[in-house]
Amino acid sequence: MSVPRLIGLGWWLQMKMRSRSAFDGALSIIYPMFFATSVFFIYRQGASSSALVAAAVGASVMGVWSAVATTAATSLQGERRQGTLELLVASPTPLPLIVVPITLSMAAIGLYSLVATLLWGRFAFGIKVSLLHPLAFAVACVVTALSVSVLGFVLAVTAVRYRSAWALGTALELPIWLICGFLVPLSILPHWVRPLSWLIPTTWGVSAVKRAALGGMPWRDIAICLVVAAVYAAIGTLLAGRLVDSARTNATLSLI
């Protein structure tokens, strides 16, 4: 079995399916932009224009998480409904390798949203984000998308065993926006939240994206992000085997 080809084909087919549905495709890109627009209107009233620019960057990354949060767990619920979840588990391919293309494709759509939001901020609100280090910015964005897809991976894997996991994923959309430093600096959150934020790879990814866009060096943050994401990936993979077995014992692979 060729892992790269499996992931590549899976990713490609997921993108195909998503593009053929207004709900999964276009809406995934547009929906976070409504929140971003609200954020723009809030910051526009403020005095600082640099804060507005930082907000524009943070808001655009919000879409990357949105794209995965709402769809990661629901996608497996959808597979369950479609009757394909059973077939996937019955195949000799381990579950993590099946889920990874799904969350990667969602994160990719999130990147579309990121670009769309930046353009929207530029042309509708006149917010100029001059990317001082465009290459570093691009890398940071991709790494953030990876970190987000790893979170989605853990969520999706839980959905194999627990039919109601999709609700948890959807509910986490705003909490992650709040505590991972997209718009709100960690310093103004309660003290006890900070360790939680640090334990989430996306916090480091967002920090890297902001640094790269606004003129700093993101490499340390990128490295930490990748390390934390790798830990989550390992946890998710270990969990996957156990959760599939539990699903087989409790018969939760099908709807009934």
Binding site: A22, F23, S38, G46, A171, L174, V184
Partner: protein
């Protein structure tokens, strides 16, 4: 008229129970408790970090929106849900009158949204340290109810469209987003471009939120009476448009066979 009332209440109760037989605490808690509170917290903190507005502003705005939005979806979903279960055709050939039928199904969702919003308001106020004297509660509840009604009116229009178009969920979510931006939920109308403020005045939520904010700041009913009345008026306007649309689309649906999902 009496049969309409029966259809309204019984139908509503039945669909509520049907809704909740498959819901477990694992779905209820994240959806109805975590979601709304965090929307309030998110925007409040964004406001803090932007140095704009105050916590009460965001608390009230998002709480009212949370009470009203389910009503927007309730009607559309009750129709879309029936279509999904393939029972829409069965219902529409029954002699029961349409509006009490679907309104009845929407009622439990509306009440649900109400309760959730009040809950989020209370918890949000506690977490953010916003003091809301108990005396404002009765008035606030009235305003929430009127806004919920106004959104239900808009929801009826959406429901009419739902009979025609398949992507109910997309339409609903887009309308949610538009209301979020236009109606002063997180940014006062004065901060929006003029044309947006004009449109906002013709949408539900706008006046309800404005009235609710005044009440939280200590206004009496006489102060906000006119604003609340406008909100109610907006609701009635959409209700009428919705009823007309529903009639038109229902007739059209029979012609174009868009009733069933598959």
């Amino acid at each position: 008229m009496r049969t309409s009332a029966r259809v309204f209440f019984l139908g509503g109760l039945m669909s509520y129970r049907a809704l909740f037989t498959w819901l477990s605490p694992w779905i209820l808690i994240p959806t109805f408790m975590v979601g709304p509170i965090f929307q309030i917290l998110f925007f409040a903190y964004v406001g803090r970090s932007a140095g704009v507005g105050n916590d009460s502003f965001f608390l009230i705005g998002n709480a009212v929106q949370y009470a009203a939005i389910p009503c927007l979806f309730a009607m559309g979903n009750s129709i879309g849900g029936e279509r999904y279960e393939h029972t829409l055709g069965l219902i529409l050939v029954s002699p029961a009158r349409r509006v009490p039928l679907f309104l009845g199904r929407a009622l439990p969702v509306i009440v649900n949204g109400f309760v959730v919003s009040l809950f989020a308001l209370t918890v949000g106020a506690l977490v953010l340290g916003v003091s809301l004297p108990l005396s404002v509660l009765p008035l606030l509840v009235i305003v929430l109810a009127v806004s919920a009604f106004a959104c239900t009116g808009l929801g009826l229009v959406t429901a009419g469209i739902a009979l025609r178009v398949r992507e109910t969920a997309v339409v609903s979510n887009v309308i949610f987003g538009l209301l979020l931006i236009f109606c002063g939920v997180n940014a006062p109308l004065s901060s929006l471009p003029r044309w947006m403020a004009v449109v906002a005045n013709w949408l539900p939520l706008t006046h309800g939120i404005a009235a609710a904010r005044k009440i939280a700041a200590g206004a009496t009913f006489t102060d906000v009476g006119r604003t609340v009345a406008v909100e109610a008026g907006v609701g009635i306007m959409y209700l009428i448009i919705g009823l007309v649309l529903l009639r038109i689309f229902e007739v059209e649906s029979r012609r174009h066979a868009t009733l069933e999902l598959g």
